[in-house]
């Protein structure tokens, strides 16, 4: 599934600092990854670790007065971060589909679903109103909304949470984007509808070579769709590699804690679930050394509290991707 040519999206040393009343918050601290054509990169990690902020930064969607973004993000060789705003809009419109974590921010509450979809479809192509409406209904059918023709006449508040989320997905897929960024796109969906959406995206990928960045808390979904997984903690990538390596042989103590916290379908509610004790660091006050050290159950190396561990290859890799983790601890043992 990897392409031999240059990747579709190449993020290099992305850093985001936000101004807050309590001083600067270092929300993303040197994130680098690449997404190939047709490839799916899953981003997982601690709540508040900078997943959403990092993708908003790529698309120039953070408020400029508050956010300082540095690094590079090349889409088809063109740097999104230094592009003039008009060019960015041109590139972003039809080329990049974005599903935001909060479906309500991408829907206008006073316009019908149909109007919003039709406007989106007509904004980037010469289509008649009637044809756009046809296409809109078709898209709603593809995301599994019952009675799509009638759904076009409804307002966002008349839809359930999962129905709204599917409308946002339909808008993001309207132009067969070359890059799809999905932030918790299926969390409000039941598993059968979720499976339908995942199949739809997989179809888009094989047909149009769409590269996908999929941010999610659902490690079951990650197991099913990801080629590559990136684990974030405290604004950094603490582990990455092929989906098999990261989920079956996690090397970073945070990733291991995360996987250990999963309830499984066969378990009953008698035992407590394992958790990662402690609270995540505030981005205004990141610890020196390894970002995870205040909570790390295995820290032993004297460098943990003073020196930031680099992402380094751990163990044998599978799937042609290096398996890397940022930790001073001994090489990961299987979970």
């Amino acid at each position: 599934m990897q392409s031999t040519s240059a990747p579709l999206l190449e993020v290099e040393d992305l850093r985001v600092r936000l101004r807050t009343p309590r001083g600067p918050a270092e929300v993303v601290n040197g994130l680098s990854y690449a997404v190939g054509r047709g490839e799916t990169v899953a981003v997982v990690g601690e709540s508040g670790s900078g997943k959403s902020v990092s993708v908003l930064a790529l698309l120039g969607l953070l408020p400029v007065r508050v956010a300082t973004v540095t690094g590079a993000a090349r889409l088809d060789g063109e740097d999104l971060l230094t592009m003039p705003p008009e060019r960015l809009r041109e590139v972003r419109g039809p080329g990049v589909g974005m599903v935001f974590q909060d479906p309500m921010t991408s829907l206008n509450p006073v316009l019908t679903i149909g109007r919003q979809l039709v406007e989106g479809i007509r904004a980037h192509g010469e289509v008649s109103k009637a044809a756009a409406r046809e296409r809109a209904a078709g898209l709603l059918a593809e995301v599994g909304l019952p009675d799509p023709q009638r759904a076009l006449d409804r307002y966002p508040h008349e839809l359930s949470g999962g129905m709204r989320q599917r409308v946002v997905i339909a808008i993001a897929l309207a132009h067969n984007p070359s890059l799809l960024i999905a932030d918790e796109a299926t969390t409000a969906l039941d598993v059968t509808v979720q499976a339908q959406i995942l199949d739809l995206v997989a179809g888009l990928q094989s047909e149009h070579g769409t590269g996908v960045v999929w941010i999610t808390h659902d490690l079951g979904v990650v197991a099913g769709i990801a080629d590559r997984v990136l684990v974030m903690y405290g604004g950094r990538c603490v582990e990455d590699g092929s989906v098999d390596d990261v989920l079956e042989r996690p090397a970073h103590p945070y990733t291991r804690g995360l996987l250990g916290a999963l309830p499984d379908l066969a378990s009953s509610g008698d035992g407590e679930l394992a958790t990662v004790p402690g609270v995540p660091p505030a981005p205004t006050d990141l610890p020196a050394g390894c970002v995870f050290w205040p909570r790390c159950p295995v820290r032993s190396d004297p460098r943990c509290e003073t020196e930031q561990p680099p992402l380094a290859v751990v163990g044998a890799s599978t799937g042609g991707l290096p398996h890397r983790a940022a930790t001073w601890c001994e090489e990961g043992s299987p979970r």
């Binding site: 990690g45 709540s47 508040g48 670790s49 959403s52 974590q101 909060d102 309500m104 921010t105 599994g144 909304l145 019952p146 009675d147 009638r150 006449d153 008349e158 839809l159 359930s160 949470g161 999962g162 129905m163 599917r166 918790e184 969390t187 409000a188 969906l189 039941d190 598993v191 059968t192 509808v193 979720q194 499976a195 808390h217 659902d218 490690l219 079951g220 197991a223 099913g224 989906v243 098999d244 989920l247 079956e248 804690g257 995360l258 996987l259 916290a261 999963l262 309830p263 499984d264 379908l265 066969a266 378990s267 009953s268 509610g269 407590e272 679930l273 394992a274 958790t275 609270v279 505030a282």
Partner: protein
């Protein structure tokens, strides 16, 4: 309709006599004292309008359409089902955040539909809600402290700013947030952090009953685990009763004593979590469980799931008879003609609405079979 032993068990369980209603309970019903929240024939129908300018009413959308459900004191009832099947609307109707158009809801023996303003305020304290959408449910102009202490003020639970402040700090810690964040505004938080603020607010009023609507959906799994552990602990300590609405079936299985499954406005299966979770009797539940992704790549790539074919029906146009029949792999003659009732099947306390376990239910009347006219 019920899965509790019938008869005068209330006193035998040591429930104070004052909890037993003065009026005689119908013989067919459950003793009220074992049940905190109960719905009978509950309906929430929304008018369907179409056309942009005139918005004429052209039909009815049956979001909740004849739900019978008991939630027992101190239990966690998990509620699952397809997106749009009416779970949130049902949760809202139980708390009277939306007006039912038919049927009854009783909370601790009191008919909720007849409450006056004072009664409603009392209900709001005793029954809380954690909403699905952490972005929409917090007021952007209020700090976390203001948000969480509001119920304390409204219900006069803590007097004095200091006491309230201490309680806010305690609640934030309870949900795994640093009390130092109390003076921040919602936009400064990530999705998961906001959701925890919502949970802290819901717990502030020391409720007896909490509806958690997708309360953990936007949390990472380790924080999810913290919140699930927290909910279970609170439940043991405070005897909290929970309605836990979620798409995460593993989490539901983990926290719930019983699980109810909804399809198109109805409860179609209910029973002990272990039974519904591992040996479901209704074909929709079976399909749903088979679609749960597992976090092991090799297993996940080869997992067999039941793919539901057929058109997804709209709640504005409910199929006659069994509402699952347009997609059910086992559909047979009685399905279009008899609307299946919940019947005991499988484990003790397990009920399913499906003719495969015997044809039981209400025969379809002629006018029910005709869909709502298009104009």
């Amino acid at each position: 309709m019920t899965d509790l032993p019938q008869g005068p068990t209330a006193h035998a369980r040591g429930v104070p006599a004052s909890d037993v209603p003065a009026s005689p309970v119908p013989a067919s019903d459950v003793p009220v004292s074992g049940v905190l929240v109960s719905a009978r024939g509950l309906e929430v129908h929304f008018p369907v309008r179409s056309g942009n300018a005139l918005r004429r009413t052209t039909g009815l959308l049956r979001a909740v359409d004849g739900v019978d459900l008991d939630i027992h004191r101190g239990e966690t009832l998990g509620l699952v089902g397809e997106s749009g099947c009416g779970k949130s609307t049902l949760g809202n109707a139980l708390l009277r955040l939306v007006e039912p158009t038919g049927g009854t809801v009783t909370f601790d023996g009191t008919d909720v539909t007849g409450l006056d303003r004072r009664g409603l305020r009392d209900l709001r304290r005793r029954a809380g809600m954690v909403f699905q959408d952490p972005f929409a449910s917090l007021d952007p102009r209020r700090t976390v402290r203001q948000t969480v202490s509001e119920p304390l003020e409204v219900h006069g639970l803590r007097s004095g700013r200091q006491e309230r402040s201490a309680r806010v700090a305690e609640l934030l810690e309870l949900v795994g947030l640093d009390p130092a964040v109390a003076d921040r505004y919602p936009h400064e938080f990530s999705g998961g952090q906001r959701q925890r603020v919502g949970i802290a607010r819901a717990l502030a009023g020391e409720p007896d009953f909490l509806v958690c609507d997708e309360a953990i959906a936007s949390l990472d799994v380790s924080v999810q685990a913290q919140v699930l552990n927290l909910l279970r602990r609170l439940q043991r300590q405070l005897g909290l009763t929970l309605l836990f609405i979620s798409h995460d079936l593993s989490a539901v299985r983990h926290v719930s004593d019983r699980i109810a499954v909804m399809y198109l406005g109805r409860v179609v299966e209910v029973g002990p979590a272990a039974a519904v979770g591992s040996d479901p009797k209704m074909p929709y539940t079976q399909a749903l469980l088979s679609a749960v992704p597992v976090p092991h790549p090799a297993l996940e790539r080869t997992r067999q799931r039941v793919v539901l074919g057929g058109d997804v029906p709209s709640p504005a146009n409910v199929p006659s008879g069994c509402r699952f029949r347009t997609r059910c792999p086992y559909v047979f003659e009685p399905c279009p003609d008899v609307d299946p009732a919940l019947q005991p099947v499988g484990a003790p306390g397990q009920l399913a609405a499906c003719h495969l376990h015997g044809v039981v239910g209400r025969p379809v009347e002629q006018e029910d079979a005709v869909p709502a006219p298009a104009d």
